[in-house]
Symmetry: C2
Subunit: 279 residues, 2 copies
């Protein structure tokens, strides 16, 4: 190929290829290699960490609308929200659409990610400057240890279980996250690709089920993630998924979304047989 | 890359890359270049036509279970089924799971596709030898012209609207398909990627809506298709989608499927906002 391509091939032996224009930013941070690449594609600019796709301007809403609105809409009045990881700011942007929200804490270990996204991906990171947002450049594993009864919703918007995100996939961490929840609190965590990360999913849900009385799964397509199909965990102490959807908030937020609506929300929890078997 | 890759880059500027082992079969037929490639991936062997992914051993069920079971299960007693295109045999295999089926006509224009799949992809094409299957190596546009009141379900398992499949995306063709339906008949057609084929989808549904009083859309992920996310049209004269699901058949068939189940079926018709806008 005479053209240059960004390629990401999973251990399953297949993956994505994107026409590459130029690398706009490349820095080895304390934790990982952070890159912003401009592409010759409808995906626009993309963020990668250690050569793994994190987000693209073109399809980021497939991910961010799901991790934010499915748990947020299932909470009766989410005021205090913690986003772990998510340094690109996309999840925070979606969370802030909920009029109930008074405070969002973003706990991201790598300040280089935040700065690069603010500069190169303003449509995704722009809301990080909102006055309701507190940004902590910190290890969430340490941060969460002494938190009790603080958050209505905790969103674990992490990288994969390999690399800097590894400690975010442990029983100890999940136990601390549970402790940080207010009454009626909900946790949502990205839980990898049902197509190429079957073993990782199994391991993760075994831990989550040990910690949370209610652990459910929802899925949705993501064009640029491995397998084109992604899963998230919905966990809580006593709130069943789909037990509540705030009609008024739902209607308002649907108007601002490219994916999310009430029917699409409900449909997320219908899983294919092969995934049910894994779980 | 020192390894060899099969790549398929869409006009959107991104696509799939698969570790390639060897080309097992390559022939320029009267209509298209037919290739079977063995891969170094969990996808196993793949079929491509004119360099476009048609099916893989590893993820074929994501497509075939949807195009077959969503319409079939919505029909009270599908006895006579026509599959247009679909020379790999995967759709026929799924259709035959329905105990009501007495006859399946496969009308595929390219005999080279059928022969290659029988030889190299027996897990997909194996049921083409079932006694209920009649294989016609014919242009479906001609075949359908004089058919009236013949089929309970017609499945248009075509290639893209460019190339040999082009004539399968016209008002005249759809009108003839409608005429071929028995009372209560249902048509299901693959309708491209909502992520990368937005214009094609718009055009196709405009035609379908002219012809069929009931035209609906369902979607599901497909790892190896452009955008990882696919749409199908559900059309009929008087049968609404989800107006009926045969409980007993559904239970039986779910046991044989990797994806399909009743809840997953119902959830398919909840569409993301951006696709609703296109339609």
């Amino acid at each position: 190929m005479s053209e240059q391509f960004y390629t990401e091939i999973t251990p399953a032996g297949f993956g994505i290829a994107i026409k590459q224009k130029e690398v706009l930013f490349s820095q080895q941070s304390e934790f990982q290699k952070v890159e912003i690449i401009d592409t010759n594609s409808t995906l626009g600019k993309i963020l990668t960490l250690d050569g793994l796709m994190m987000t693209t301007e073109g399809d980021e809403y497939f991910y961010h609308e799901m991790i934010a609105h499915i748990p947020m809409m299932n909470h009766k009045c989410p005021k205090s929200v913690l986003v772990i990881g998510g340094g690109d700011g996309g999840t925070v942007r979606e969370v802030l659409k909920h009029s109930t929200v008074e405070k969002v804490v973003l706990c991201e270990i790598d300040g280089v990610v935040i700065d690069a996204c603010k500069k190169y991906l303003p449509a995704i990171a722009g809301k990080l400057s909102d006055s309701r947002v507190e940004i902590l450049v910190k290890d969430a594993i340490e941060y969460i240890k002494d938190k009790e009864n603080e958050f209505d919703v905790v969103l674990i918007d992490s990288t994969d279980p390999m690399g800097p995100g590894e400690g975010l996939f442990t029983e100890e961490f999940y136990t601390n996250v549970k402790k940080s929840l207010k009454k009626g609190g909900i946790v949502c965590a990205q839980s990898e690709s049902p197509v190429v990360n079957k073993e990782e999913i199994k391991k993760m849900y075994n831990l989550l089920k040990k910690v949370f009385p209610i652990t459910s799964t929802f899925t949705s397509p993501i064009p640029t993630y491995p397998g084109g199909y992604w899963a998230w965990a919905f966990c809580s102490i006593n709130v069943e998924p789909l037990s509540y959807i705030d009609e008024k908030r739902c209607e308002e937020i649907t108007k601002t979304c490219k994916i999310y609506n009430k029917e699409y929300h409900s449909a997320r929890f219908a899983l294919p047989n092969f995934l049910k078997e894994i779980l």
